[in-house]
């Protein structure tokens, strides 16, 4: 997976995440001793280039939000490395991190909950500037007005409070707040999931425009593959704490390899009644990450006859075709695809690239 770093062609990637692990202890028994781990994120590698959007898609509980929080150090990762602009921030102290936080900000799913209801919109947007001690009162006020205009809100919004706005407008406030300190990377955690379709389209367009004008990089986390595919340059599909497939969004749509990716595409309701497609029904639900099955978690879910063969096998994605990576999982790939990526052959492939 290390090789995937070379994939970001636009010079040095902004963010490089390697084999990131984020475990949470499960406590039990009389003395509250640790009895196990929730392996929310289990060895995920990902790179984001400058001006690039990487989509992270998966069902609830797959660890995609935790991953988003870990990479900007809202959690303390259990293992792996995170490099931002070449600087290792994996175990940097919060005090050292604070000045760096100017460069990466987060937009949360539910702006009704992530915005303090007792602060005016002006105060909310200026707060990151205050924390970063940027500008004086007058300069901050000007910056807030500029940001309101940027995200399509009227100047008068400054004195109002979050409850006076609709869901879409509140999400605009959340975006303005994240943009205040001029970040280079935005982690967008389900930013449009709570919005109505017509408003969702407005916010997606806003994000696209901001990226075009300001050269931002996005990590776009969502469960809606159609939205993710639309907004992202590359998409990674996550299942139970691990990446199972990643490719450019067109390649993933045209040529999905992993059974889980196929199931996700197939489950999207098609808004064209003329396309009467046969849905590939996916049985069962995402298992708990507390005691994840050994080997292929998805193979286990679909009760694949060759599930046993995946136990003890390294399922880290390998490159199937340039830029298209997939977990070498015998349960989830068609035979000819598996033949190309199965563990023995992957060694040769990676040595070629080095």
């Amino acid at each position: 997976m290390k090789d995937q770093i070379s994939e970001a062609k636009k010079g040095k990637p902004l963010l490089e995440v390697e084999a990131l692990k984020q475990y949470f202890p499960v406590k039990g028994g009389v003395f509250g001793r640790k009895v196990g781990d929730v392996k929310a994120v289990d060895g995920v590698s990902l790179t984001i280039g400058k001006g690039e959007t990487v989509g992270l898609v998966g069902e609830s509980g797959c660890g995609k939000s935790t991953f988003g929080k870990s990479i900007i150090r809202l959690e303390n990762p259990t293992g792996g490395t995170i490099r931002f602009k070449g600087k290792d921030i994996t175990s940097m102290s919060q005090a050292w991190l604070r000045p760096l936080r100017q460069d990466f900000q987060m937009v949360f799913q539910d702006p009704a909950e992530s915005l303090d209801a007792r602060m005016s919109v002006g105060e909310l947007i200026a707060e990151p500037l205050v924390i970063q001690s940027m500008g004086n009162r007058k300069a901050r006020r000007e910056r807030v007005l500029e940001l309101l205009d940027r995200v399509g809100l009227p100047k008068s919004a400054m004195q109002k409070f979050p409850f006076e706005f609709s869901g879409g407008q509140r999400q605009r406030i959340g975006i303005a707040r994240a943009l205040a300190v001029n970040p280079e990377l935005l982690v967008l955690d389900e930013p449009v999931s709570a919005l109505d379709v017509s408003v969702q389209a407005q916010v997606i367009n806003l994000l696209l425009e901001l990226q075009r004008d300001l050269g931002l990089s996005y990590l776009f986390i969502a469960h809606d593959l159609a939205v993710v595919k639309h907004i992202s340059d590359r998409v990674s599909v996550m299942y139970l704490g691990k990446i199972v497939e990643s490719a450019t969004s067109e390649e993933l749509y045209r040529n999905p390899l992993h059974a889980y990716t196929k199931a996700l595409f197939s489950a999207i309701p098609d808004p064209d009644p003329a396309n009467k497609k046969t849905r590939k029904m996916l049985e069962g639900e995402v298992p708990s990450p507390i005691n994840p099955p050994e080997g292929s978690a998805f193979g286990k879910r679909i009760n694949h006859p060759r599930y046993e063969e995946t136990i003890g096998v390294d399922l880290t994605p390998v490159e199937y075709s340039p830029g298209h990576w997939v977990a070498p999982d015998v349960c989830c790939l068609e035979d000819e695809v598996f033949a190309k990526v199965k563990p023995e052959s992957s060694n040769d492939a990676s040595s070629e690239r080095v």
């Binding site: 017509s198 997606i204 749509y253 595409f265 309701p269 808004p271 009644p273 996916l282 049985e283």
Partner: protein, 325 residues
Amino acid sequence: MSDALLEVRDLVTSFQTDNGWVRAVDKVSFSVAAGQSVGLVGESGCGKTVTAMSIVDLLPKPSGHILEGSISLNGEDLRQVPPKRMRQVRGGEIGVIFQEPMSALNPVHRIGKQLVEVIRLHKKISGRKALKEAIEWLDKVGIPDPAARAMAYPHQLSGGMRQRVMIAMALCCEPRLVIADEPTTALDVTVQAQILDLLEDMRKELGMSVLLITHDLGVIAEQCEEVVVMYAGRVVERGPVPEVFANPAHAYTKGLLASIPRLENERKSILTTIPGQVAAIQDFVPGCRFCQRMGRRSTMINNRPTFAEIADGHWVEACRECYEG
């Protein structure tokens, strides 16, 4: 239409608020034929849930009232029936599936017991027989190991499983109509597909009608025969799904369809949007409310457009601008 199982005509539902009465549903008419599945679609606050709750008389009391119109089920006017009969209708003839099963199920009772309660309210059978029936229903809705699951509490089940229990509960008295209010909104796409398929199988097997309320046009396209599009408390367009999706007539329907990100779209292309947002309910104009959103100084702002049939079964309520624009 005489063959309609459910016929809603000129329904007006209002809520009493501190600032006076607001009309959440403003003269809504549509019908559901026997065995048909009808989708009711619209954005949040358009009145789709209030319409559904008006049908089964589950409006929040004392603020919500049906002021005008008629709701008839098989020719019986549900607005006139006594509460005792309404309790038989609700659950017995109309099953309801709510959006959030965790708040619709009672957290302190085992799910088997909750199902038995419903069954025994509508059928005169012994508790043991009812439990047997409950377990059969859990099996029918695809819950593995139903006998053991009947002893589980709602919190012990996943979201998808809870929604299956809700479906079992709505169907266990074999109603003629099921109202499903956003049954899959809280679920993952893969589980959503399972639940929608289950609902469709059940509809075919039991020959019932389904009124599916959703904000997702994709779900309607896959699931329903008829669609009713609501905007700001009114029905703006309705008709057969293939016809409405192929030839949307109202600017709002067109806008909704255009703003869905589609898989075949080019990456990072700008989506078509509907400018502005729905006006707050107390600010609704008497005339064309979509013109109100678009900020048009239309002559229709004070006069409500008429509801007209433009093709076989395809009805539109639009002013000239919303129809042509």
